[in-house]
Symmetry: none
Subunit: 68 residues, 2 copies
């Protein structure tokens, strides 16, 4: 599917991302400051995050078979 523009680009607040990762909102801010997360700044200086990127990073290892 061709990637549609960015009309449906959902932005998440620090609190939303923190809930998804089970961390403190300050930690999410720290990730953005470290360049680990794409942060979109509002005109007032607050950060917003891309839902698609967050969900991609939230992908876990679905129970690996076994390790030696």
């Amino acid at each position: 599917m061709a990637a549609r523009t960015n009309e449906t680009e959902t932005l998440l607040t620090p609190a939303e991302v923190a809930e998804m990762f089970r961390v403190d909102p300050k930690t999410v801010t720290r990730w953005a400051k470290a360049g680990k997360l794409t942060s979109i700044r509002t005109l007032g200086g607050h950060r917003r995050y891309r839902e698609a990127e967050v969900r991609a990073l939230l992908t876990a290892v679905p129970a690996p078979r076994e390790a030696e």
Copy 2:
């Protein structure tokens, strides 16, 4: 609030899982490393665990019988 998390997936910290199992957090880490537990890593490298999976493992033994 605009965005709503589609999957309200609750994650647990190593200390929480350790408390539920009455083991050391280090042991929980070993379980994750052995692939016995699904681990979701934060961007800082810390592990988070699925509450549903942990609770399923906690109620997985109705004590059938004790012999031998």
